[in-house]
Structure formats: structure tokens, C-alpha cells
Amino acid sequence: MAAGQGFKTFANGEVLSAADVNGYLMQGVLVFADATARTAAITSPQEGQTTYLKDTDVIQVYSGSAWVTKSGALPTQTGNAGKYLTTDGTDASWGTVSAGGMTLLSTTTLSGTSTTISSISQSYKSLYFIIHSVNAASNYIIQCLPNNSSTLASAGGYDTSSAAGYAGQAIRISGVNNTLLSSSTQNAYACRIDNYASTTSLKPISHYGMGASGVYVNFAGCFRSTTEITSLVFNLDGTTFTGGTVLLYGVS
């Protein structure tokens, strides 16, 4: 008698035959090293027989014509850390999460008369940085010089100390002529530079934020160079950093 006979109640004293063992008792999950070992052991599989293959960590059931991994069973997790589960409508598999969003490239403490962030990865679409809690030896203006250029930024916009923009200068992060007081670290500004890795186009920039003086800034403009930006230099237009942090992100 072949396997897969369902259920039988054995009576006291009943003789247990080979057919009964094959048909009723061999119905657990049968474990094999791999499909080859299973084929060698089960030469005539019966519908409903269930096996576990150790090499692929899957449970399969014989459909009557083939061994089928049952739906709901996970594919092996070994070697697939960090991946997501997907299906093609028949079988589940692991997919690789694509990169996206913002990646923190660096956290830099500002120091000296200037701080340079160099060797910036060219793998992103835009750069975005937040500069905050700046402090200095004397009153100051926060500036950013892409590729250490002090002559290629142009922007028009608004700060509440002046409605004028700036041109032919470094990016004046804290405003056109807005001087921040060395007595306060209550300041935070953000700046975005798009297309920074292009070797053929100019780079749109925008920046905004506010300092303790209450002057808020909101500027938009351009870094007028077709050279890719590989470094950012931060300075205070003549004085020395005594504090402050730049968080630099690459935007995919």
C-alpha cells in the first residue's frame, strides 16, 4: 500500500503491516538533504507527501505530478539580510532594496578660520547641508565656498535685514549683510545645491534659516560654474569658529 492513505484507528492487538506503516504512519514531514536524496529515497511519491529539504530550507508537497513549494513558505533567509520579500505571482523571493532618499555623508565640527569638507562623493543628484549652533570669536557672517570659490555664487532672495541678493561672492548662508552675534549659538540654516556633480551645467542653490538676531533668510540662485563640486569650504568672513556643526547629505 502506498503512502498517503489518510487516517486509521488501529485496534488493540491488530497486526501492524508494512502496508499500514507505509500508508498511514509515513505521513510526517520527511527530511532530506536535498531533492536528489529525496528522489533516490522516494521512487514513487504519492500526492500529499510532505518533505523538508535542508539545502534550500523549504517544505514541499507532492501535488500528484510534482514537488511544489507551498505558498506561504519563506525562501531561505540565509544570505538575504536586509532584503524585502516579493512574489512573481507564483513564487516568493527576496529583492534588494534600492538606494534612495538622503544619505548622511559627514558630520563635521567647525573649527579654525575655515573648515573644508573635501572628497565629496559624486554619486548623488544633489547636496543638502544643515549648519547650526555656530559660534565665533567675534560677530560674523556664515559663508560657504563651493570648491573654495568666493566669486561664483549669485542669488536673489530675501533676508529681513535686506531685500537685496548677492552676486560674485561666496554663498552668504546667514544673509547678505546680516551679522550674527558671537554671544549666541541659536542659529540654523539649510542649503541645497542641485546638479552638483555635473561637469556641463551650472548648479542651482537655495538656502534658508534664521539666527538669534531674528533675521530670517530665504535665497535662491546659482553657483555659476560647470565644474563639479568636490569640496565645500565654510568660513565666517574674517573671524574664527569656536563652535558649530555641518551635517552634509547626499540626495539620491
Binding site: L105, S106, L110, S111, G112, T113, T115, I117, S119, G238
Partner: protein, 73 residues
Amino acid sequence: MPKTTTRPMVRIHDLATNEVIDREMNDEEFAQYEADQAARALAAEAKAKAEADKAALLARLGLTEDELKTILG
């Protein structure tokens, strides 16, 4: 002869190695720094002169700045 003047310090954070280096300005940086300082001094001097000229003119006219803005509308 040992250096008697210490140049301003600069910081460089190299993202390729994640190394942070603090060092004195090199010759090129220091030359630009001194040029920038001189330009700032000239700009500050010009701004101070303009403020002084404005104050002197207002005094001659016997007006405050707010009164002048009111007249000009």
C-alpha cells in the same frame, strides 16, 4: 630661525578617508587671508565714512533719519 608668528588654523575633513586635519594656513591660504582682511578693512572704513557723512549731512539739515524718511515718503 624659528617662526615667531603663528598663522591661523584651518580644518579639513576628507570624506575619502574620514580624516580630520587641523593645520596652519599654507602660504597660498595665508596670502588670500591677508588680502581678504585688507579688503574687509577697506570696506569697513568706507562704510564708516559713509555713515559719518550721512550723520554730518543730517546734522547740517537739522533732521533726524526718521524725519528725513518721513519727508521722502
